[in-house]
Assembly symmetry: C2
Homo-oligomer: 181 residues x 2
DNA sequence: ACCTGAACACCGTTCAAGT
DNA sequence: ACCTGAACACCGTTCAAGT
């Protein structure tokens, strides 16, 4: 039974989705593909690299969604990006923690930075300022997603606030406070 | 050689600080205390519980700093809290990831929520709105700290933006966008 | 080229046994 | 009460050997 890199990442993703990030181990991934754990190492250098690939798929999704409407007002664009990023993170269990743990490949990160900054720079923000704003939105979305995906934290916070509204409130407040430099 | 709970948490904290969170294991902690790994389980129920205790020490520090000046304007207070929280997280290696992973004890979290909301409620914000604002600030500080403590992410971002200024910018933007409900 | 089987070092945790 | 020593199951990873 032949295996490809892509299949391994996909299997890992659905496994993490079903059983949680803590249940993600090489033997379980291999079993899901009808193969031995050691077979994975022909296609993937390490579990760390595998998790990095998993994390990148989330960023890629958010980037694709946000990149679509580049003609909008830059504040609107930032808000849409933040919402899309959070949604992408929440779409799979444990993805926030995964993104917090796994570092992206340096070249991918640089390319993503350029792509994200472009629509802001086109509307008059300096590149440095655009990246700064983007980083804050990344941090906000990641932080919220971490809280929402932490079981106990989720249960506790959910009693007192609504996640969607609170995130929207914080995001809109932040973006409205940004200025063109 | 007798051991106390507190000593174990402290040893774990300094070990994580020196060697990183990945090097944190029961045998290493025990060795630092001149004891066998199995001895730890007389004082601590599990590694998970130990990490929870570690995470709580960070929140406690930030809470102590922020609780100090309760008479300030609520926006100023929120900003000071955010800055204190981030500083507390950055003071130990891997603390952000630790706080993202370990869930606090439910009663501690509830008490912290009350304590933090109090100065805001005293100045006219509703309890729900105060908690919502606080959660956003928590998320922002945690997200930033995660980025700053992720080695590769750090190196990459540091080339383009200043962490301190960018965090301050995002935090002040957000707080200035909050309103009394 | 791609996979199996068996092994290695390491880890969290348990438990009888010591003092 | 508190600690040691030895063990267990589990994990990431390697590597010879098969096909």
């Amino acid at each position: 039974m032949k295996i490809r890199q892509e299949e391994i990442v996909e299997a890992a993703l659905t496994l993490a989705d079903e059983q949680g990030l803590g249940a993600l181990n090489m033997r379980a991934i291999a079993a899901r593909l009808g193969v031995q754990a050691s077979a994975l190492y022909w296609h993937v250098p390490s579990k760390t690299a595998l998790m990095r690939a998993m994390a990148q798929s989330f960023h890629a999704r958010a980037l694709a969604v946000a990149g679509a409407g580049a003609a909008k007002d830059w504040r609107r664009w930032l808000i849409d990006y933040g919402v899309a990023l959070r949604r992408a993170l929440l779409s799979h269990q444990g993805s926030a923690l995964l993104c917090a743990t796994a570092r992206p490949a340096p070249d991918t990160a640089a390319a993503a930075g350029d792509l994200l900054a472009a629509p802001l720079v086109a509307q008059g923000l300096s590149r440095a300022h655009a990246l700064s704003c983007l980083a804050s939105i990344n941090a906000l979305a990641l932080g919220w997603a971490v809280y929402e995906q932490s079981e106990a934290m989720h249960d506790h916070l959910a009693e007192m606030i609504g996640f969607d509204e609170s995130f929207a409130l914080g995001l809109e407040a932040m973006v409205s406070g940004f200025h063109v430099d």
